[in-house]
Amino acid sequence: MAGLNEDGQWIVLMGFLISIAILALMLIVSQATLVGQTTAEGVIEFPKHEIRDLRSEVIRSVHLQTTDAILEDMRLLSLKRNHAIVSVDWRPEPNMTHPMTRVMIRYNNGVTVYEETLLV
């Protein structure tokens, strides 16, 4: 069809360009959304307060008389209420200049795994 008038094609071309522009724009925007969401999620999912609290409570309780019962309290409550596996091992360290206790804390809530060995 040699005689076909092609003058109108620039309109459809324009529509095509605009569509591509929208696509590119939204790609960028959704990236920005993702950044904000992952920042917040990263902070929420890392249980910083929980681990700090656990740590200080364990350090306080190894000097008490009923350490094993208290650690069992914490293990069971963590499991049932915070959905985290907490295991604490402790033994006295006699071969030091000051008598100290070696404490091993393991924490796992499925997303975050935390382990620490410390002397108190």
Partner: protein, 169 residues
């Protein structure tokens, strides 16, 4: 024939372009998840941070070798004293009016191999709508024999979990 075709060419091209643009825009906008400040993770994160902060500060000893405020209010079972210390920490703001944060607190404890809970503090007159986004913060509290917590006495020092649910209401 040719001349008649040409007469509707611009219209056809215009319709085609319009369809193309609208279909693309619709598909694109439906595909991406729109982040609106209403249900932000950021707000939840900040609220959780604030609650954990307030509990941590209340769990600092009041004097060298003394009990912390948190241990004291749990041990004496005084939700009013807890509220008097906790609420101002949550609500005070200097760039805006008071933040209307509500909370409810409960204490979980171990009884043998089971875990049970008792309510510590409920917001007065609040009717749960089930729609307010809430966050949960916890804190370990040590209680000693002679406490007034309404749980079975074990005769030993024990650790209970203070659970606080926070929301804006």
């Amino acid at each position: 024939m040719v001349v008649r075709d040409g007469a509707t060419l611009y219209t056809i091209e215009g319709v085609a372009a319009a369809l193309l643009m609208i279909v693309t825009a619709t598909i694109v906008f439906q595909a991406i998840s729109i982040y609106t400040p209403g249900d932000t993770h950021i707000d939840d994160m900040l609220l959780e941070q604030l609650g954990a902060d307030a509990l941590a500060v209340m769990d600092l000893p009041q004097g060298q070798g003394e009990l912390t405020l948190l241990e004291e209010v749990v041990q004496d079972w005084s939700p009013d004293a807890f509220d008097a210390a906790f609420s101002p920490l949550l609500r005070e703001r200097s760039f805006a009016a008071e933040d209307p944060i509500q909370y409810s607190a409960e204490i979980s404890y171990r009884a043998g191999d089971e875990v049970a809970s008792v309510t510590f503090s409920d917001p007065p007159g609040y009717v749960a709508t089930g729609r307010d986004p809430a966050v949960r913060v916890t804190r370990w509290v040590q209680i000693h024999p002679g406490h007034s917590v309404p749980i079975p006495h074990t005769g030993r020092s024990q650790v209970v979990l203070l659970e606080v649910i926070l929301w804006r209401g």
